[in-house]
Symmetry: C3
Subunit: 212 residues, 3 copies
């Protein structure tokens, strides 16, 4: 299996595990675990394939991805109680999924469109999409709205992969460099609280205070 | 009209009614009723057609589905006050829609991909998608996160239909059996509070309590 | 550049600005501004292209739209503090975006399907989709659930454009009339609090009060 193929399955599998951990936090039943695992695992890649017009989407072509999601959902169902903090595990697995998905999204976007700009956008968008979808469906506070760096990590990984590939670097080096860049940035943000300075912070008021 | 064709219109119509009932609960105006009716009625089928690559989606090919949604939205707008509990009606119509949609999703998935695994996934996913979309847009607590069995009913219906069809059962029998299975399970869950035992329940803490 | 082409870029640009203003209200970092600007700017058009089967979507074909979103996101990042009320600005730009997008959505729907019904639906749906997506991702109270007229403005604009085009009016007149109709209705609703009388208002109870 190539490194890109491995990253593809790894991204789906760890995002599926984060979906199942969300199901555990919401105390859903076993089918709820499998459902959230599947939606989170394949959500970002589904969006990627749809906008690129690569239809039917990847998991219809190769249902093996579904089995990966179902297996991860079942595994988490039987082991989630072993972890002292499910949220901490969720957030670190989410970082791994983000790193794998930003490279895969950029690779598919570059192959389908030939445009580095499109590759960077599909890489960033699909890396973030799975986690956003999971948080919206499970009613969790969105990982996107937390103060530490999140989207930036996916963007950096997509840029490194795309830049290296356009420069002629072998795909195994480009994809490894992209995934490691994303993980290093997101991991640093989680471990050390890295965050950009915010510009003139001022929280929004509620619509009712502003209008009328 | 075939049983499958009837299930298709019935699923769209009753999901549209649940969307309009949500609009009623949120006290929207008549156009809000029509909008939520349309989004909920066609949402699951749109997702199904997109992932299968069956484009343009069904309601662009046959705009009659839109007229069904608009009619249901208007009907609910003028009758919603007659019901003592709109939420109870919503949740039972949602059960009917779930039953019809899980068979239609599986039937289209099987026809498009030939894979029973894909059929079961598209059946389950599209049966749940309309209700999830409705609850997210209307800001309702998601039906998916309620304690009783929900996704399981759609999954069981999709499995029964797919299994029966692969075994050579006539389509009218397979689709009837699938829809009845789904409705019996979801109806039992609503009437008798059927729920899977949850594994080591432990609610999730807020991210702020876990991280830093 | 044609009026339709101008409306297209204008709709993407002002919706991108509203996404960045949402990011400002949530105190995200600069990448969060660019991300929400991109998702909001291209969200409605992406949905439109997908349901019509016009794939790959418009911003994969012409990445210039991405650059428009990124520029608007950066512009808002450096100027948002200059406005006394970011929400008021957001809601008025949203009205401009709604007006541009309802015409573009109807125009593409009519060209792709030939059906006025489909054109009106794609116009209304895609005009509302960007704002709904922005509010869901940013965790804002949805603009759709506010009491004033919202979807109605997009629907009226789409009807005027579609009706005029079917009647043979030149495209520049039809698109101008459609956009102005939508903006006049939404603007009036914002300025004067226009709202439809609601039918027998009665807020929904929580699911827990209704079931069991």
């Amino acid at each position: 299996m190539t490194l890109l193929g491995f990253l593809d399955y790894a991204g789906v599998a760890v995002f599926a595990a984060t979906g199942a951990l969300s199901a555990s936090r919401k105390e859903l039943d076993v089918i709820g675990f499998l459902f959230l695992a599947a939606v989170t695992g394949i959500g970002g890649g589904t969006l990627r394939d749809v906008v690129l017009g690569s239809l039917p989407v990847f998991w219809v072509v190769d249902p093996g991805y579904i089995l990966v999601c179902v297996s991860m959902g079942a595994l988490v169902f039987f082991t989630a109680h072993l972890f002292e903090s499910r949220y901490r595990l969720l957030i670190w697995l989410d970082a791994v999924g983000l790193s794998a998905y930003c490279v895969m999204g950029a690779a598919k976007g570059l192959a389908a469109s030939g445009s580095p700009t499109v590759a960077i956008v599909t890489g960033t968008l699909t890396a973030a999409a799975g986690g956003i979808l999971r948080d919206i469906i499970a009613g969790e506070p969105s990982v996107l709205l937390r103060p530490e760096i999140y989207v930036t990590a996916g963007l950096a990984g997509a840029c490194v992969f795309t830049g290296a590939t356009v420069a002629g670097t072998p795909v195994v080096v480009a994809s490894g460099a992209g995934a490691l860049t994303a993980f290093a940035i997101r991991g640093g943000a989680l471990r050390f609280g890295w965050a950009f300075p915010r510009y003139k912070p001022r929280p929004g008021r509620s619509p009712e205070d502003v209008l009328r």
